[in-house]
């Protein structure tokens, strides 16, 4: 099975990587093209005659894109911080303490993570509207819990289970209280898992669309995904600007993925695979 890879293999691999990356690369080209090359005769050319950064400039000068970025950052960061904090306690208890009903609790968490968002939107929308929380950060952070908290609890529980529990036993023998065991022994060991989970939750919150689309409709409160989709006007779609905005949002994600790929992969897969 594990044959050494030949040159044909590498060519196939290169082709595969190219196909996967192609939409992204093409959008990068589109972002750098002036309108004259984006449409018409030169629309399908790989070489740009007059590359320009105009699209990138226009996204910030003619549209409140900086504001969208800020909104997304605030909402995703706060969602991550608060759901990771609450989930850490829950996951610690599920993974390290013994009490009844853990399987049921995990079952509920998993079931909730499968809830379709659309099935919660009507009461949440009506509630936020009656509380005056539409077009606010809190109005997004609260509903984001529906996916962030189950995701965080599930991932953290799996990570925490891998930390040998004899460490906890040893601390107990030494007379440490449960609280001390948790804060002094456990959390330092758990940090990598917490960090990985935080990345996953952040990406999920950053990418969320339905709640952001329905709850924050004011220009100044839109998040990035909603903002970019709404770039299109009645009759025209400003592809250059959409491409530039997409690149601006995607590049940090790509960098993050490149740096943390090992962690992300382990975070994504640890629930599905028994080791």
């Amino acid at each position: 099975m594990q044959k050494k890879a030949g040159p044909l293999f590498y060519i196939g691999l290169l082709l595969f990587v190219f196909v996967v990356m192609f939409p992204f690369l093409w959008i990068l080209l589109a972002a750098l093209k002036p309108p004259g090359e984006l449409f018409g005769e030169r629309a399908f050319q790989f070489i740009i005659q007059n590359p320009t950064l105009d699209n990138f400039v226009r996204v910030f000068t003619e549209r409140p894109f900086a504001r969208y970025l800020w909104n997304s950052t605030v909402v995703a960061t706060l969602t991550t911080l608060y759901s990771i904090t609450i989930a850490s306690f829950a996951a610690y208890a599920i993974a390290w303490l013994s009490f009844r009903g853990k399987t049921i609790i995990l079952g509920i968490v998993l079931a909730v993570s499968m809830f379709p968002q659309i099935a919660t939107i009507s009461p949440i929308f009506m509630f936020m509207q009656s509380m005056g929380l539409t077009n606010s950060y809190l109005g997004l952070i609260i509903p984001y819990t529906t996916f962030a908290l189950p995701l965080a609890i599930w991932n953290l529980t799996i990570f925490f289970r891998k930390i040998p529990s004899d460490l906890g036993e040893a601390a107990k023998v030494d007379g440490a209280s449960i609280w001390q065991t948790m804060t002094r022994v456990f959390f330092p060991l758990a940090m990598p898992g917490v960090f990985t989970t935080a990345i996953l939750v952040f990406i999920a919150a950053w990418n969320e669309f339905l709640f952001a689309l329905t709850l924050n409709t004011q220009e100044a409160m839109k998040t990035v995904p909603v903002g970019i989709v709404m770039f299109q006007g009645m009759f025209t779609i400003p592809w250059g600007e959409i491409s530039a905005a997409s690149i601006i949002v995607t590049v940090p994600l790509v960098v993050m993925v490149l740096i943390f790929q090992r962690r992300i992969i382990s975070g994504l897969t640890s629930g599905a695979v028994k080791e």
């Binding site: 594990q2 990356m21 209280s177 790929q261 897969t269 695979v273």
Partner: protein, 436 residues
């Protein structure tokens, strides 16, 4: 800290205490809304109709509306009475007495009278009216009485207006509409929406589209995912880089990848549409987004691009847990690569494949972002899924009860699919927890 803290909690209590906040939040923010959705779906709620913005289980009066519109009506009738002469004046006087009586009858209840005062004061100060003040419950007869009075008033006013007996006939329509909208009727409709959807061809089409999209895209993703997982499972240079590339489609926000593809599919300037035309896959560049089959194909291709990486990574992780010795033993026994794949790899991957399928099937079934941004459900509803239909009913038609019924259908389908998978998977998914 006190080392042997006698008062401290036992491990069990501590466990429940630590879990409590998470459970409470999940209960309030996720489970309650789903149940509430079902409740809403049993009511005729329309956010663009002021008398139907909420669940009303009984007859009643929207006091905020009533308090702000009743004085207008009274003032209008008084002014007209002053201006009118002869029999018209008498008629208007009669109307005035009647509506004042109606108001007095209403305010006989001390509670309503005091609320009237309180709301009047708040409105004067431009303050919002709290919900607990806003609605009063009335008996069916009391509501009927008010409605009859108002209906009579309205028809008399309109008749007088038509006979040119009013100074400002156009004012009558406005003040009457204002006060009539304060009357609230119970908007419970039972399972009427569900019954309606059973025979609604658009719902069945949306359900079919959803299933078609789910099955086709998940099957393609599974096959490609296994192929990619096998590919990156062998040792080669630059493995890390390939794995990172594979993650990129996963990390990009779905709507942004949908916008990217929309540009690639564009009928005039889309490179993918162009390539398809050049290679003869489609007759014309416009086919991709403007024909029914083309649009469904486009949506599936974009989804496959976006989510195959996730599938591949899960399967790749699964592959790494298969002991190498199994393959060595198989080679010694003379099994070829094909046999090894079907006899060792697939059976050993079974639970990973099922888990990956579960997650992907549910995600695909709930699809919203991708289709919303790429086709909007079009052309001619050919890519409209249940979630999109529910969204449009709720936020374009503002019919929340009806839309919620569709949302509940999505929920039920998702629940059935999960139960199906979990039956096959058994307790495996939650398994490890029993070890302790």
């Amino acid at each position: 800290m006190n080392r042997q803290n006698k008062g401290s909690l036992s491990e069990k209590q501590m466990g429940y205490l630590l879990i409590l906040p998470a459970l409470l939040i999940i209960l309030i923010i996720a489970i309650w809304p789903v149940m509430r959705s079902f409740w809403i779906s049993l009511h005729d709620i329309r956010l663009n109709d002021p008398t139907k913005t909420e669940v009303h289980s009984s007859y009643g009066l929207d006091m905020e509306r009533y308090v702000s519109t009743f004085p207008n009506l009274l003032r209008y009738v008084k002014k007209e009475a002053e201006a009118a002469q002869g029999p018209a004046k008498d008629k208007l006087e009669a109307i005035r007495q009647e509506i004042e009586q109606m108001n007095q009858a209403l305010q006989q209840s001390g509670e309503i009278a005091s609320r009237y005062e309180a709301i009047d004061q708040l409105l004067l100060e431009f303050k919002p009216i709290p919900n607990e003040l806003k609605y009063v419950t009335l008996t069916g007869e009391a509501t009927d009485a008010i409605r009859t009075t108002l209906a009579q008033t309205e028809s008399t006013l309109l008749e007088m207006g038509a006979n040119k007996q009013l100074a400002k006939p156009e004012g009558a329509v406005g003040v009457m509409a204002g006060i009539t909208s304060a009357i609230i009727e119970p908007n419970y409709v039972g399972f009427a929406y569900y019954q309606h959807f059973l025979t609604d061809s658009r719902m069945w089409a949306a359900l079919y589209n959803t299933f078609f999209f789910t099955v086709v895209s998940v099957v393609i993703e599974l096959v490609l995912g296994i192929a990619i997982a096998l590919l990156i499972n062998r040792p080669f240079r630059g493995r890390g880089l390939v794995r990172a590339t594979v993650l990129i489609p996963w990390a990009i926000p779905t709507v942004i990848s949908a916008m990217m593809w929309k540009f690639l599919y564009d009928g005039q300037n889309g490179i993918v549409a162009h390539l398809f035309e050049v290679t003869g896959l489609v007759s014309d560049m416009g086919v991709l987004l403007s024909t029914k089959a083309g649009a469904m194909f486009s949506v599936i291709l974009a989804d496959v691009w976006k989510t195959t990486p996730f599938m591949a990574l899960l399967l790749f992780a699964g592959l790494q847990t298969i002991p190498h010795s199994l393959y060595e033993a198989a080679s010694v026994d003379g099994a070829n690569r094909m046999q090894q794949f079907f006899r060792i790899t697939l059976p050993m991957l079974k639970s990973t494949i099922l888990v990956a399928l579960l997650f992907r099937t549910l995600d695909a079934f709930r699809v919203f972002d991708l289709i919303y941004a790429l086709t909007g459900g079009g052309p001619a509803n050919s890519t409209e899924t249940i979630s999109i239909y529910a969204y449009k009913t709720m936020f374009a038609q503002m019919s929340f009860g009806e839309g919620s019924a569709l949302a509940v259908l999505v929920f039920l389908c998702v629940a059935l699919i999960s139960i199906g998978y979990i039956k096959i998977l058994g307790a495996d998914l939650l398994g490890e927890g029993n070890g302790k």
